[in-house]
């Protein structure tokens, strides 16, 4: 199950997606057995996050509107990262900037103490930055080029499929120096409270409901010449296998851990069985 991606060895191609496993410190026995963990999105300044309701269940998934709640890069670097470094897994920091400059500062602060960076140019739950510039190929390319100058570590860009073609943005990111692409981030979604006749939640849809969309996007970008991390509704070893067939080099498990924090271990076992029997 070992794999080498972006010149780094991973113990297996099953990673933990950003935002659904905190910092990997609650269920360390799971973190220690996956290939890598993507941290919660880290911003330059601490963020309180959005007011409740933050999660809403939908058919085969959920809408979340957490709003990038995180302690900010300073506290992360000082208090959380040293604990994460004791985990027996690769650490990929999800960098969430609101301006191109934010990305450079956060990456500069953490460089050499982590294994790779994932640039979150596509969070649907923040008013500025986020998905708005995730669909702008020029800004994404600028962000990647700037970050490229301050780190030698692998730079992965997390792409959105919201109102844009990830192939166009992805190609520009690769030209600007991205080492890999994660796709997809959650999809814009909303729900209404019909009794009160008002919006209940606006946020990002995740879970098995978006898996077919994620597979399509991975397949669409498979010839860009960089490794792809497939993310979206993976619940089983069979789902992982589908993403590998679509062209992904690895996958990240997101919402499945909300249903069962130990799901990644089951998924790894199932994948092992599938790949050895085939």
């Amino acid at each position: 199950m070992k794999c080498r991606i972006f010149g780094i060895d991973f113990k297996n191609p099953v990673f933990l997606a950003s935002g659904t496993f905190e910092f990997g410190l609650i269920y360390k026995n799971v973190s220690n057995r996956v290939g890598a963990i993507f941290t919660k999105g880290i911003t330059l300044q601490p963020r309180k996050g959005n007011p409740p309701p933050r999660v809403h269940e939908t058919a085969c998934g959920l809408i979340n509107s957490v709003g990038l709640e995180n302690p900010g890069v300073e506290v992360f670097s000082r208090d959380i990262l040293p604990q994460m470094r004791k985990l027996k897994t690769r650490i990929i920091v999800n960098v969430a900037g609101f301006t191109p400059d934010d990305f450079v500062k956060i990456v500069g602060e953490l460089d050499s103490r982590v294994d790779a960076f994932e640039l979150n140019v596509s969070c649907p739950n923040v008013k500025k930055g986020g998905v708005a510039f995730g669909r702008d190929p020029d800004i994404c390319a600028e962000v990647v080029a700037n970050v490229r100058r301050v780190t030698k570590l692998p730079v992965i860009v997390k792409l959105t499929a919201n109102f844009c073609d990830p192939l166009i943005v992805g190609r520009r990111c690769v030209e600007a120096g991205a080492d890999g692409l994660s796709l997809i981030n959650t999809l814009h979604a909303m729900a209404f409270d019909i009794d009160k006749k008002r919006v209940l939640i606006k946020g990002g849809l995740s879970g098995p409901a978006i898996k077919p969309v994620a597979l399509f996007c991975v397949h669409r970008l498979k010839d860009l010449g960089v490794p792809l991390i497939g993310v979206g509704g993976i619940m089983s070893g069979r789902d992982v296998y589908e993403f590998l067939l679509a062209g992904a080099s690895a996958v990240a498990i997101g919402s499945a851990t909300l249903r069962d924090p130990y799901a990644p271990l089951r998924i790894i076992k199932e994948l092992k069985r599938l790949t050895t029997s085939g």
Binding site: T20, F21, G207, P208, L258, D260, P261
Partner: protein
């Protein structure tokens, strides 16, 4: 946290929309306020588990009392004795209630976790009284048990024939200085009304909400508490009532 697939050993309907499921679950050792996540179905719809508080745990027998409020709890209500269910937990902060004369204030289905607190108090010889309010007289559950455990009880129904009113109207009338501490669980409107009474003793609320993961991973169950967001699932569910900002 552990997960267990367990057989329902007893099912009981208390009212037309509140039922109890019993399991044999040795070694659980829960504390008051803790809850389990029940997987509704093996398939992915509904996707999330349902957080259900522990109503009783005696000699390895676990009781969870569930009110049908939506599709997930409706599906759970279709399960029968002998069916298997996957449970995750226990979740919730390890809160050890103070062994002081207490007042328990329950509203509606909020009685379930307070029933377990009552068991805990009996086991630790803590004196307590209980106020329990519901909509109509038909809605009382676990009443005999509670009468046996509490020193004094006051039952009140909004449309009651003997004592019409709410727990809030009762709390207003009684002398709270008889107690050192109070615990409450019930609908949000009731908690807000209790908070406004500004009671002279510490009041702890057992908070409820729709949860994402139930175990601190998703930051989905935020509640504004003393100026910052706390997670109901791991920082609670028991929080001091005065510190909660219900406006956010």
């Amino acid at each position: 946290m552990i997960s267990r697939r367990l057989k329902i050993i007893r099912k009981k309907w208390y009212t037309d929309n509140i039922f109890g499921l019993e399991f044999n679950y040795p070694g659980l050792r829960p504390l008051p306020g803790q809850f389990l996540q029940i997987q509704v179905d093996e398939g992915v719809d509904p996707f999330l588990n349902r957080p259900i508080s522990i109503a009783s745990y005696k000699r390895a027998r676990l009781l969870m009392v569930i009110k049908v409020v939506g599709r997930g709890t409706k599906m759970l209500s279709a399960k029968e004795r002998g069916d298997q269910v996957t449970l995750f937990g226990p979740f919730g902060r390890k809160f050890r209630p103070k062994k002081k004369k207490s007042l328990l204030i329950a509203g509606g289905i909020g009685v379930a976790p307070l029933h377990f607190l009552a068991e805990y108090f009996c086991k630790h010889s803590v004196n307590f009284d209980m106020i329990y309010g519901v909509r109509t007289n038909r809605d009382f559950i676990l009443r005999k048990d509670l009468e046996q455990m509490a020193d004094n009880t006051i039952w009140v129904a909004e449309k009651g024939y003997r004592r019409a009113g709410t727990v809030v109207s009762v709390v207003k009338k009684i002398d709270l200085t008889d107690y050192e501490i109070a615990y409450t669980c019930g609908p949000k409107e009731m908690l807000i009304a209790l908070q406004k009474l500004d009671m002279p003793i510490p009041v702890y609320a057992f908070c409820e909400d729709f949860l994402g993961c139930g175990c601190g991973l998703c930051l989905g169950c935020a509640i504004m508490y003393r100026g910052e967001y706390k997670r109901i699932c791991v920082d609670g569910p028991i929080l001091e009532l005065g510190g909660i900002d219900f406006e956010v």
